[in-house]
């Protein structure tokens, strides 16, 4: 009797597990398939590049033709990848520096209009940057920063600030004051105290800020499209849109697949390596 119940129970659990993972694997396939298809298709020789990707894998050996074709557009794929990397890494460094200082200032000092300033920084979240692109275009050209990667970088840093300053202030708020007092007694002051003693403690917050700054700058399209006007300054999304629209010569779908992979892989690597810090940022933003 009890043995029969037991076997029935294990059978039900087994069936439940099968159903669960059956659904999971099918769903996972749909989420992964576009990446896999593009990745495999980008390795086909140029003679197959314009054919439908059925099957997606290269039938006559792996070839890097698509990537070579991609390199013939604009100023070459290395130049544009370098542009994207410069803007993204510059955004990361500047965002971390500025929000580290601001977070420390807002957490540890008292000064006039402190709350007004903090609310002002956070309130920029309410206003979509898409609605201020027209004047930004004019202001940047007055500053001599039109069609410049530095100008674009400064815009990206500003867009990252509300989230980053909020994150860093919370990170500093969570640091016990005793640590600072002990360091002060040992003679560490101001910037030395901040960088030598506190920075290692708030490092998880810095990682969160950095990963969001990188992904957002690497992926941003509209501002780059408007603010960059010369081919050789294009970041990857702007370049690839021009390739896809056939503005730089006939549309080559192999080159589009290759470009998609060049843009996708860094995001996936950064996310998979630093997933924990990414999710922390997401939760902080969601709970707010």
């Amino acid at each position: 009797m009890s043995a029969a119940i037991k076997t029935r129970r294990t059978r039900r659990r087994l069936l439940g597990g099968l159903g669960y993972h059956g659904f999971g694997i099918i769903a996972a396939f749909f989420f992964l398939a576009p990446f896999i298809w593009a990745g495999l298709a980008s390795l086909r020789p140029s003679s197959e590049a314009q054919n439908p990707p059925l099957p997606p894998w290269p039938a006559h050996g792996i070839s890097f033709d698509a990537y070579k074709t991609l390199d013939s557009f604009g100023s070459g794929i290395w130049q544009h990848t370098l542009n994207s990397l410069l803007v993204s890494l510059g955004t990361v460094v500047l965002t971390v520096m500025v929000s580290l200082l601001a977070g420390y200032g807002f957490s540890r000092y008292r000064f006039p209009f402190k709350n007004v300033m903090f609310v002002l920084i956070i309130a920029t979240l309410m206003i979509p940057f898409q609605s201020i692109l027209t004047p930004l275009f004019i202001i940047l050209s007055r500053l001599g920063l039109n069609n410049s990667l530095l100008g674009l970088m400064l815009v990206y840093v500003t867009l990252q600030l509300p989230f980053s300053v909020f994150m860093m202030r919370n990170a500093f708020d969570a640091v016990p004051r005793e640590i600072e007092e002990a360091a002060r007694i040992d003679g560490a002051r101001d910037l030395k105290l901040l960088f030598r003693v506190l920075l290692p403690v708030v490092m998880p917050g810095v990682a969160t800020v950095a990963i969001f700054a990188f992904l957002n700058a690497w992926n941003e399209f509209l501002a780059a499209l408007i603010l960059l006007s010369e081919n050789d300054k294009y970041t990857l999304p702007v370049l690839m849109t021009a390739v896809r629209a056939g503005r730089l010569g006939a549309i080559n779908w192999g080159a589009v697949q290759a470009g998609v992979m060049v843009m996708t892989i860094p995001c996936l690597i950064v996310f998979l390596l630093l997933q924990r810090y990414y999710m922390r940022g997401l939760m902080a933003g969601a709970v707010k």
């Binding site: 597990g17 669960y20 993972h21 999971g24 769903a27 996972a28 989420f31 576009p34 990446f35 314009q50 439908p52 990707p53 997606p56 520096m97 929000s99 200082l101 420390y104 200032g105 807002f106 540890r108 000092y109 008292r110 000064f111 402190k114 002002l120 920084i121 309410m126 206003i127 979509p128 609605s131 201020i132 692109l133 027209t134 004047p135 004019i138 202001i139 815009v155 500003t158 600030l161 101001d190 992904l215 690497w218 992926n219 399209f221 509209l222 499209l225 408007i226 849109t241 589009v256 697949q257 998609v260 996708t264 995001c267 996936l268 950064v270 998979l272 997933q275 990414y278 997401l282 969601a286």
Partner: protein
């Protein structure tokens, strides 16, 4: 005896001077952030308002025209169709995303082996750019070199090669599927945090009292998730209202220019026709819409608190 009161006073003065110095240090720390926000955000916002009262060509002198741009906007039928298209898109995407994100969130909430891997995989498209996924999907939907057209033919849905991006309805469907694929993992994670914040003894008690799975979901889970739902809803709505990349990259405004979203229309007015003044007035309208949405968000969240 006579010198004793002087010591504390001197001490207080010194301390006050020190706190004042410390105060100024605080301002120094936040100064770079404030400078960036001022130059690249506050000034542009004010400048947008100023420009919206002008006829402002790219080259040449701007001229003051008062409310001219706003009057023009009110009778601009193309702007109205951009507004209605954006509203239509927002409603459809939001419903589609929630219809999928909720089951997925319930799926990845269970404590089972491999659930972490599922969470990560469902989330992967979120970290890739919208422009990147638009490029990827415009290839998949291409009539000659893509994937969907031969698959549809293989299953006998369409007789000949189908150009999905050539008609409004099928192109719109492709874009919705792409956006859902790209965004649903994000909404799923937000909803998951809400699900996890529900104390398990509550659901346990309801189960013991004989509430069915649906009853527990309807009368326990949903009400307790009000805040999270409101947040996920607003993030999805504001994101959709600002949509641009997918229409620009995938359909260039779509068959018969029917896929021009509000941001796309502003882009066209400001940077294709170079009517920067009119573009600014349109931006102010967009801004007003989003601030109104934010106010509704705060309302919804506060109502969630009272219950």
């Amino acid at each position: 005896m006579t010198s004793s009161p002087a010591v504390p006073i001197a001490g207080i003065v010194r301390q006050r001077r020190r706190t004042r110095r410390r105060q100024w240090q605080g301002v120094l720390y936040v100064a770079p952030a404030m400078a960036l926000v001022t130059v690249f955000f506050v000034v542009p916002v004010l400048f947008t308002v100023w420009m919206s009262f002008h006829n402002w060509p790219l080259l040449g002198q701007p001229s003051w025209i008062g409310l001219g741009n706003y009057v023009r906007m009110a009778s601009d039928s193309r702007f109205m169709s951009a507004l209605s298209f954006t509203a239509y898109y927002t409603v459809v995407t939001t419903i589609a995303i929630f219809a999928l994100a909720f089951p997925l969130a319930l799926f990845v909430e269970r404590q089972r082996r491999g659930v972490g891997a599922y969470r990560t995989i469902f989330f992967l498209p979120v970290v890739v750019g919208l422009a990147t996924s638009s490029l990827l999907w415009v290839w998949l939907a291409n009539v000659d070199s893509g994937l969907f057209s031969p698959i549809l033919r293989m299953f006998g849905v369409t007789g000949r090669a189908a150009n999905l991006l050539a008609s409004f309805d099928s192109a719109f469907a492709v874009i919705i599927v792409m956006v859902v694929w790209k965004i649903v993992g994000f909404t799923m994670i937000i909803l998951l945090t809400g699900l996890q914040s529900i104390p398990s003894d509550l659901t346990e008690a309801a189960r013991i009292d004989g509430a069915s799975r649906w009853q527990r979901f309807r009368f326990l889970t949903l009400p307790l998730m009000r805040r999270t739902l409101a947040l996920a809803l607003i993030l999805s709505v504001t994101g959709s209202v600002l949509a641009f990349d997918q229409f620009y990259i995938m359909t260039s405004g779509g068959p018969q220019n029917r896929m021009i979203s509000v941001v796309y229309y502003i882009f066209n007015q400001s940077f294709v026709s170079f009517q920067l003044g009119y573009g600014s007035a349109l931006s102010i309208a967009l801004l007003a819409i989003l601030v109104a949405l934010s106010v509704i968000q705060l309302r919804l969240l506060r109502v969630g608190d009272e219950r």
